[in-house]
Amino acid sequence: MTITQFNIASASWFRPELALTAGILLLFLLDVLVRKQSRYRVAVLTVAALACVGVAAALLAFQPVESRAMFNGMIASDPFATFWKWLFLGAAALTVLIAARSDEFPSPRIGVFYALLLSVVLGMFLMATSLDLLMLYLAIEMVSLPSYAIAGYKPGDRRAAEASLKYVIYGGVASGIMLFGLSYIYGLVGSTNLTALGVRLESLAAPASAGGQLGLRVALMVAVIFVLCGIGYKIAAVPWHMWCPDVYEGAPTPFVAFLSVGPKAAGFALAVRVFYSFLASGGGPEGFARGLADVPWPAVVGVLSAVTMTLGNLSALHQNNLKRLLAYSSISHAGYALMGLAAASQLGVQSVMIYMLVYLVMNLGAFLAVIAIAQATGSETIADCNGLSRRHPLLAVTFAVFLFSLTGLPPLAGFVGKWYLFVAVLSHYAGDGGAWYVTLAVIAALNTAISLYYYVRIIRAMFIEAPAGELVVRPRVSYQIMLGTFSAALLLFGVWWNPLIEWTQASLTFLTRG
């Protein structure tokens, strides 16, 4: 009896998610009810989608802030999760606004897109809050399944079909491997609860005999690597990044913009939770560098981070398609953000949060600029940017702002994000393995220089090359407003970043081991 009450009692901390669920169902219904020929169809559906997000946001704002595990320890409600929820809702609202005025979503099919988008958002909510291996897997599937469908959204388009199929196959393999790892963890430890796992694993780590210890370590290590595979696939870190460019190229651009920030951020939220709860062993606020099964997991993540950013940047160098270029750039950004995880400290987590927040704005902005260019020229290569500064100065300037911010140049917000990542890594300078952290930071700095090269290629095309023909570039008014707002925000928070720091600082409490 008490257990059921616990379930019902939890629902009052679950209202934003309930609002999203209701919104999904409502949109499914509205999609059928509003006539396909109606002129107001897009407007009605867009308003409905925005209203759902708005209601969820309002409920989130009035939700009590204290941390608690809900639904018998399945998911958590804590300030950390709330931070990510705000981020996801923001990304969703902006994507809805972008998609409403995009050419890629014909009005008969836009309702389903909104509904699926909201279900992805719900899945991301669950990813950021899950406290149980079961929920973790379920949440990842909830994000993945609708994404597969939206990636193949354009009917009869070969690239879209390829994107969808590749996404499904990579996703299926990744989640299959992750499930396999989860089953090993459950078999070895006997619990699926993240908060219990860490404690159990520590007690297991007590040495028995050399052989058994080694066997246990190998089994756990393989299991954890399998689990990391599922998470790494979501954030597009390197061994699991192959789907990224093809999917970005084939999927509708507004959704790609969302995909590059939303699920990635959710993946990081999940990674932080998993990492803190059982990978890195406890003991002191900064002292979890030596982790599970005597494997220095922060070092593993550090290597992943270095490889990811280097490979992403090097592959981006010779891309001519803007979406593919941004895909590789998003891979390298995942690498940067992994630095914060590798730092394995409060500061590291905070830097990841700041970076994801800033990345949301600048990457959405960059994709918005690509959409605007593609709407005018019909394709999305670097050559399409030629002479953009003369055809539409606002678009060119804001795109340049986004690209510089992505590079991490001051005085833009991208610099703040990167600065905190570097600080988090370099604060280990004096500690154990300080040299490795310094190496990581040096690699990241070199990568920033590399990335400057390909970002500047676009900027050079926009400002120096002559326009190819007499093409009129006139982005929609709502896009112009959004472009302006995004770049203003990047400039503002590039010089006045206190609110970011305070907000993330306040959101740092979260449920880890019981």
Partner: protein
Amino acid sequence: MNYILPGPSLLDKLAFIVLASAVLGFGLLTVTRKSAVTALMALIGACCALAGLYATLSAHFLAVLQVLVYAGAIMVLFIFAVMIVNRDDEQPIALRGLFLRAAGVLGAGYFFYRLAWIVVRERRADVLATSITLPIPEYGNVASIGRLLFSDFLFPFEAISLLLLVAVVAGVLVARPPRPTPSGDRERVA
């Protein structure tokens, strides 16, 4: 103390050996057969043998579901897909080249050896038994599973129902032919 069986008897051991080797054998067939349909049939065999293993562990409900859902529904859908695609000329093993194959086999072999060590040599009680809560007496029957589903695991249970709904709609979105747009019927629905 073990609630499930009064100790592994000869028959239990025999059943386990037969079923486990069936799972492994069918699994090997699945990954080595060139013909996709034959591989799928082997997979069905593996699923059924797995269901048998569940049944020997007193998880009858799970065993039946394993057959009903996997061997029955999902595998039939797989066969459908394979029949429609029907490409028998594909190399069944993804890892090409001697080096990768050797590395894969060695790595898997080492991992298996270590796992086997835990189970066979060590019998680490703390890993294998005490850390796992012992099953309740009515373990595995429908009522106990139902009770768990509607108490401890209510939330994932409900979340899955939403997930399935969304997946159905997503599937329809991908599969349905494009409909005529309001600007003019370029494509007609058959």
